[in-house]
């Protein structure tokens, strides 16, 4: 099996998982745990992921148990990545809640993988040259390049119909841009009901106490319909909170501009500082686009910034209960340090 990058680089390794070829955008993630969560994260739609941690599959895959319309162990109903690139696959996992191997699970969802390649070399290449298109070619079966960033990926992964999750008296509209299940779990845990709606759904006429904008894949500029609905909602005063794509959409709706990062943030160890303090939070992140601080309108303030590269990590309205963060307070995978943001949101309803 070969991994071929847009710039011509070719890496040969051993195939595993589904026997087929795929094309997509190649990115990397430096997280050391959480491959089941990562593979099912809808934000990875259309991408081929390089795991920098060398041993993948160690603790297998837990059962696909659905409780109250939610997968207990996964972040969505299926694998969203197109393929994965690793150093070494564990074929004999060991964990009390594992029911099958990573490889078997990938075969079910027709996801190929390559192992035995120098993932650090590939990562450095992506870092230095920026995110690239790439393909995994099985037994010479080549296929055309595929650039997911030209498509409205949010539309592909969002739910098609509203779904209601009962959890309490207060009701939150959750705009599904490719929502991770742990956002829903975090809201339900705090005693609110969640009405999960499609990305372009006009919820302004519904009965609700606040709006939660989920994460999602791709370029926020392509999510124009969602931004239109949001603009309408933002003339009101009900609490709004956004995560990742949701953050970008809120900033765009407020009038700010987005841009594409060279290689994005794809790790579980991103330090984010609360503006004006010495407080720093370790966060999980997965995004290629960011909001340009300089373009924020006067009534919005930067809320968090990335301690490594200074990029914006959150915005807050000066008077209205509107705020959003670029990182993932719902974690899964990753550190749960910013889970308190859910408390703040629920308290504000």
């Amino acid at each position: 099996m070969e991994l071929i990058l847009e710039d011509g680089a070719v890496y040969s390794g051993r195939h595993f998982g589904y026997k087929g070829s795929v094309a997509g955008e190649v990115i990397f993630n430096t997280g050391m745990v959480g491959y089941p969560e990562t593979l099912t994260d809808p934000s990875y739609q259309g991408q081929i992921l390089v795991f920098t941690y060398p041993l993948i599959g160690n603790y297998g895959i837990p059962e696909s148990q659905v409780i109250d319309q939610l997968h207990r162990h996964f972040e969505s109903d299926k694998i969203h990545l197109k393929g994965i690139v690793i150093t070494s696959l564990t074929r004999e996992p060991s964990h009390w809640n594992a029911v099958r191997t990573l490889e078997d699970w990938m075969i079910e969802y027709k996801i190929p993988g390559i192992e035995g390649v120098d993932t650090r070399a590939i990562t450095k290449r992506l870092r230095d040259k920026g995110t690239q298109l790439g393909k995994l070619v099985f037994e010479g079966k080549d296929l055309p390049w595929y650039d997911p960033s030209t498509e409205n990926l949010v539309a592909q992964v969002s739910c098609k119909e509203p779904i209601l999750y009962e959890g309490g008296a207060k009701r939150v509209i959750l705009v599904d841009n490719g929502c991770k299940n742990n956002i829903i779990r975090n809201l339900l845990k705090r005693g609110v009901s969640v009405l999960r709606v499609p990305w372009d759904y006009d919820y302004t006429g519904e009965k609700f106490d606040g709006v939660f904008l989920s994460n999602g894949p791709g370029d926020p500029l392509l999510v124009d319909k969602g931004v239109e609905v949001l603009k309408k909602q933002m003339s009101q005063d009900k609490p709004i909170f956004g995560i990742c794509m949701g953050h970008q959409l809120m900033a765009l709706a407020a009038g700010a501009q987005s841009y594409k990062l060279k290689f994005g943030h794809h790790s579980q160890n991103q330090p984010c500082i609360l503006v004006g303090t010495k407080r720093c939070f370790i966060t999980s992140q997965n995004h290629n686009y960011a909001i340009d601080d300089q373009t924020l309108p006067a009534e919005y303030h930067p809320w968090f910034f990335n301690a490594n590269d200074g990029s914006n990590e959150g915005v807050k309205h000066v008077s209205k209960p509107f705020s959003s963060v670029q990182f993932h307070p719902e974690a899964w995978p990753g550190p749960v340090d910013t889970g308190f943001l859910f408390d703040h949101f629920v308290d504000s309803l």
Binding site: P36, Y53, N58, S94, T123, S267, N308
Partner: protein, 1067 residues
């Protein structure tokens, strides 16, 4: 930032010991660097003269004094620091600091404790307070209760139900802890524990649970991160210091990893730690149930390991946080572009394996368990567990080529029963039993049942066995590329493959290089490549195709490190390596160091231009050599590990710098060396190289017993023995050594009642440039690593030293020495005999360098680099002070070991102290290694008649000074004959019914000293003397087993010299 303090005192951990080793040289050195960067004056108190932290380039002032409250108070009184660091010198520093706080000394002098407050430390150290504190935030701890006496302990044990675990409060390395399966065991262990401590903890025993640790950092602004987590290969029941450890954890899911991380942060915030701490968990292997086992609110062995495993400088950051910095104000010292407030992402795995040296001790059990016995550790970095595991096993330097296909069937068990026994009740060699069990057809499930080791680890081991069998199919033929490549990826070494393929290591190397199978050089950058990093912290892996850095672009010199600490090779050699590297750098040459010991300063990436954290083995050194193309390799700084590679490296075409490897071999090979001495007309003990027992007996009859029996290439007396009779010789040669035409043994006359003299020197092109002569306080017969060293010599004739110098010059010339070398001499009257010569730095180099204030290693390195050097002609006799180096023994930790000295080295560490005269220096050194003053009550058991005579004067002086002396039967009778009235402590077999015997007397009242001089050099018998020695050690009573040391110590005690508080630079 305005500094919180201006002058800070830092407490070191004194001598290296089991449970407290080189890791505190690393953490103390980093703390000093961190403070110096802020312009803070640093005062270090640490008598460990071999450490890097006590070098002149680090702390502003160094006090080579005992880390005890009495001495520290005096240093504080003199220096008036406004801050103190307690958490960088292990449990020794922490305990001392807490005493100073409780006694009000710190408050009296206005010394602020930096970092974690004492009240918090107290909370983590007192088991009950700790359990209460965690209960407040709903964090689970093992069911447990503190007991203040034996009766209480037994009641609690009954409540919890057996098996139970007994732990000691305030103990390092799990000392005295253990599992008890029933009432009797509990009674025994608890009884023993109460002789060390006033409080013990009785707790539920979580056998088979996973053991996981997190290293946590928190600043004064409540930022809190976990820098690294680690998982033990050996589940709960084996002390983490005795376990194989892997970082990061391998078998934890995201939910488990982050659950424990969250609990860690919650706990550390609640306790209020500022700086660094370690939290240990038990995790149920079949659920998400956990228990917090303990929190160490200080730098620890685990934090040193985590630092090296991740590249995150924990000690440096902890010191800065103690000064009031926020994590957000500190830079990541690897990337220089990102911030210290982050959690490293690893793109490799790290395996740590402890290094035991249990065969060095008589009567000690090789079983490992809940208290520490290991004396060092190794850390291997690889991309897969298998690669790192096999590397690490080789690094142990116990003769392993990897996990499988080992010479001499390492760890081999004779039958299924023995194998199961090993799996269930492990010794230090259990890991080798796993592949053997697999080959015998035992399933992973079955091995898991016996060992409770997670199946993940076992299946990876099974994969190593699979690859072994795959390769073996090509024995005698050509191994295809893909097979060889796979073998290298799972960590097989060339010698291992050579054995499997029926060919040589060199042939395998040729073949794989032909195939293009060479390792890739990878960086450790803390961010898994996400950000560019200018890091020089490197390792090799076969699971990679590209080197991370440009290689061989600048003139460089490679220095080989000393590998794992073990008995006989420890921090002294790290000091040598660090100084050699510094000198290479100062000469404008790129310095490259290879070492794999996580407890060292030499493996701090800011010490060296390029650090290869990898094996010091022919194959690996050649791989690096061929990539870096250096000017040459320095092999003379890293002790015997490095020295042994000299000749093979030369044969494989590498440039070895300094003394020619051919000459090194001439000094190492006992036969060649002795022949050379004969040719030069230099006297040596009579010797002969022999190949049969009969010939050996004939030789012994000629020279007379006792004789010393030893093979070539000796370090620390390994496999060396003293025979006192034909029977002893026969038993030794059949048991401890192979004897045949291929494996000759050198037997020499073992001389007693001689002085032993140590000669350390630097030569260039055969000319001695500088030297130092120290004498052993003990007579010959005590291993030089255990002996007490005195510099300048106090009892050696001037003529003797002249002869020694003359002989050394002859040898330097004959061997064309360039670099450091060390010789040992026997002196009687003015006759001088050579007993050993090492063409490398020796254990005593830091001691003599620091005492004479001449950096012999810097000079040796310059000599090696060919820089012209002036001959040093000052006489070290003119020093107006004396240095004494004393050894530390860790017998308390080695259950059952006979605490005597002999030709096998047994000490784990050393100290070196200075005094205006010999007695002052000796007392400071002895107090530093745990002896007590004043001596109010002592036991004397003086062995042979001659000793008894020697002691008479001392005894009468002691009596005149009101010392209560107890003596064993023979000694008592002898003293009584001479009208010296001492109390009788009868031997167990001589005690009349109803009267207490010597052992019972020791147990019944506090003693300050036990002197027991054994009658024989070596004996495996459970003698009564052994019982006294062992009981003294178990009761933590200072013990002396050597006549000369006992006499000198008591003379010094009686002399009551003023123990002056003078820093090193004041001498």
């Amino acid at each position: 930032m305005e500094p919180l303090v201006k002058k800070v005192i830092i407490l070191g951990s004194a001598a290296l010991k089991i449970g407290e080793a080189g890791e505190f040289d690393y953490s103390g050195s980093q703390a000093i660097k961190a403070l110096k960067q802020e312009g803070i004056t640093t005062i270090l108190v640490n008598p460990n003269i071999a450490t890097i932290q006590t070098s002149d380039h680090l702390a502003d002032k160094v006090y080579l004094l005992p880390v005890t409250p009495e001495f520290i108070e005096q240093v504080i009184e003199k220096e008036r620091p406004d801050g103190i660091l307690l958490s960088f010198g292990g449990q020794t520093a922490l305990n001392c600091g807490m005493e100073l706080d409780q006694s009000g000394v710190l408050a009296k002098y206005g010394v602020k404790v930096l970092g974690t407050p004492v009240s918090v430390i107290q909370k983590t150290e007192d088991r009950q307070e700790f359990a209460d504190a965690l209960a407040e935030i709903g964090v689970f701890v093992p069911k447990s209760k503190a007991a203040n006496n034996l009766k209480e302990a037994m009641v609690i044990a009954e409540e919890i139900g057996y098996p139970i675990m007994i732990r000691l409060a305030f103990a390092l390395g799990g000392l005295g802890s253990g599992v008890c399966w029933n009432e009797k065991e509990a009674k025994d262990l608890a009884g023993k524990a109460f002789s060390y401590t006033k409080q013990i903890l009785v707790e539920e025993y979580l056998k088979g649970w996973k053991e996981v640790e997190y290293e946590v950092v928190r600043d004064a602004y409540d930022n809190c991160i976990t820098v690294c987590n680690m998982e033990n290969f050996d589940p709960l029941g084996i002390h983490t210091g005795e376990s194989i450890v892997i970082a990061p954890s391998q078998t934890l899911s995201n939910a488990e990893y982050h659950m424990l991380r969250e609990v860690a942060i919650k706990t550390v915030r609640h306790l209020g730690v500022i700086g660094e701490c370690n939290i240990q968990y038990a995790l149920n292997p079949v659920s998400e149930e956990y228990r917090v086992i303990e929190v160490n609110a200080r730098l620890s062995r685990s934090s040193a390991l985590a630092s090296k495993a991740t590249g995150y400088p924990l000690a440096f950051v902890a010191a800065k946080l103690g000064l009031g910095y926020s994590l957000t104000e500190l830079k990541n010292s690897i990337t220089h572009s990102t911030m210290a407030c982050f959690e490293p992402a690893l793109d490799y795995v790290v395996v740590k394996i402890p290094r035991w040296d249990l065969k060095k001790f008589r009567m000690v059990s090789t079983k490992i368990g809940t208290s520490m016995k290991s004396v060092g550790e190794v850390m291997a970095i690889g991309k897969t567990f298998q690669e790192a595991l096999q590397k690490a096993l080789r690094m142990l330097d116990i003769g392993a080529w990897g996990l499988v296909t080992n010479p001499n069937e390492l760890g081999f068990k004779n039958n299924r029963e023995e194998l199961i026994q090993e799996l269930q009740a492990p010794t230090d060699e259990r890991v080798f039993a796993i592949p053997q069990a697999l080959k015998l057809g035992m399933s992973i499930a079955e091995i898991h049942d016996h060992t409770r080791i997670d199946r993940w680890f076992l299946s990876k081991i099974a994969n190593i066995v699979r690859v072994e069998q795959l390769v073996a199919q090509y024995n005698g033929g050509i191994c295809p590329k893909h097979v060889l490549s796979e073998a290298k990826r799972v960590g097989f070494s060339d010698p291992q493959l050579g054995q499997l393929l029926g060919t040589t290591e060199r042939q395998v190397r040729r073949q794989r290089i032909n195939y293009g199978i060479v390792p890739a050089v990878k960086q450790i950058d803390t961010l898994a490549g996400e950000y560019p990093a200018q890091t020089n912290y490197l390792y090799l892996t076969y699971n990679g195709s590209e080197d991370d850095i440009v290689l061989g672009d600048k003139e460089s010199v490679v220095v080989l490190g000393s590998g794992t600490y073990r008995i006989g090779s420890s921090v002294e050699f790290d000091w040598c390596c660090v100084n050699a590297v510094k000198t290479v750098k100062a000469e404008g040459i790129r310095s490259i160091l290879i070492n794999y010991n996580p407890e060292t300063v030499s493996t701090d990436y800011d010490e060296v231009d390029r650090l290869y954290f990898d094996e010091i083995r022919l194959e690996t050194v050649m791989d690096i050599y061929e990539k870096e193309n250096p000017k040459g390799i320095i092999v003379s700084m890293g002790g015997q590990v490095a020295n042994n590679l000299a000749l093979p490296l030369m044969h494989w075409g590498a440039q070895v710098l300094g003394t020619s490897p051919v000459k090194i071999d001439m000094a190492e090979d006992r036969h060649k060396f002795s022949s050379m001495l004969d040719q030069l007309g230099i006297d040596q003990p009579q010797w002969q190289e022999l190949t049969s027992i009969d010939a050996a007996k004939t030789f012994a009859a000629k020279v007379g017993y006792p004789v010393l029996v030893r093979p070539s290439y000796v370090l620390s007396g390994a496999a060396m023995g003293v025979a006192t009779s034909d029977e002893a010789m026969e038993s030794y040669l059949s048991k401890a050594a192979q004897l045949n035409e291929d494996h000759p043994v050198v037997i020499s006359k073992f001389l007693t009642n001689c002085k032993e003299v140590e000669f350390d020197a630097v030569a260039q092109n055969g000319e001695i440039i500088n030297f130092a002569i120290s004498e052993h306080l003990e007579n010959a017969g005590v291993h030089s690593g255990d002996a007490t060293l005195v510099l300048p010599p106090q009892r050696t004739y001037l003529e003797t030293t002249r002869r020694i110098k003359r002989i050394a010059s002859q040898i330097a010339k004959a061997l064309e020495i360039t670099g450091p070398f060390n010789m040992q001499f026997l002196a009687k009257g003015n006759s001088v005999k050579v007993i050993e010569c090492n063409l490398r730095a020796s254990r005593s180099f830091p001691f003599v360098s620091k005492v004479t204030k001449q950096n012999l290693i810097a000079q040796a390195t310059q000599a090696i680099l060919g820089r012209p050097l002036e001959k040093h002609t000052d006489s070290f006799f003119e020093l107006n002070y004396v240095g004494v180096k004393a050894s530390h023994f860790s017998f308390t930790r080695l259950l059952g070991a006979d605490p005597t000295l002999g030709v096998e080295m047994a000490s784990t560490g050393e100290v070196g102290c200075l005094g205006d005269d010999f007695r002052e220096a000796l007392l400071k050194a002895m107090l530093s290694v745990g002896y007590k003053m004043p001596v109010k009550r002592m036991l004397l058991s003086s062995g042979p008649e001659k000793n008894k005579v020697d002691f008479m004067d001392t005894v009468s002086q002691l009596l005149a000074n009101d010392v209560e002396i107890w003596a064993t039967s023979g000694t008592h009778a002898f003293l009584a004959q001479h009208d010296l009235k001492v109390k009788l402590a009868p031997w167990p077999d001589a005690a009349p019914e109803g009267t207490p015997n010597v052992v019972e007397i020791l147990e019944s009242m506090p003693f300050d000293l036990v002197i027991n001089i054994p009658k024989n050099f070596q004996s495996d018998e459970l003698t009564q003397g052994y019982q006294v020695r062992r009981r003294a050690v178990d009761l933590a009573i200072p013990l002396i087993t050597n006549l000369q040391l006992a006499s000198r110590f008591l003379e010094a005690v009686l002399d009551k010299p003023d123990l002056k508080i003078k820093s090193w630079d004041e001498y």
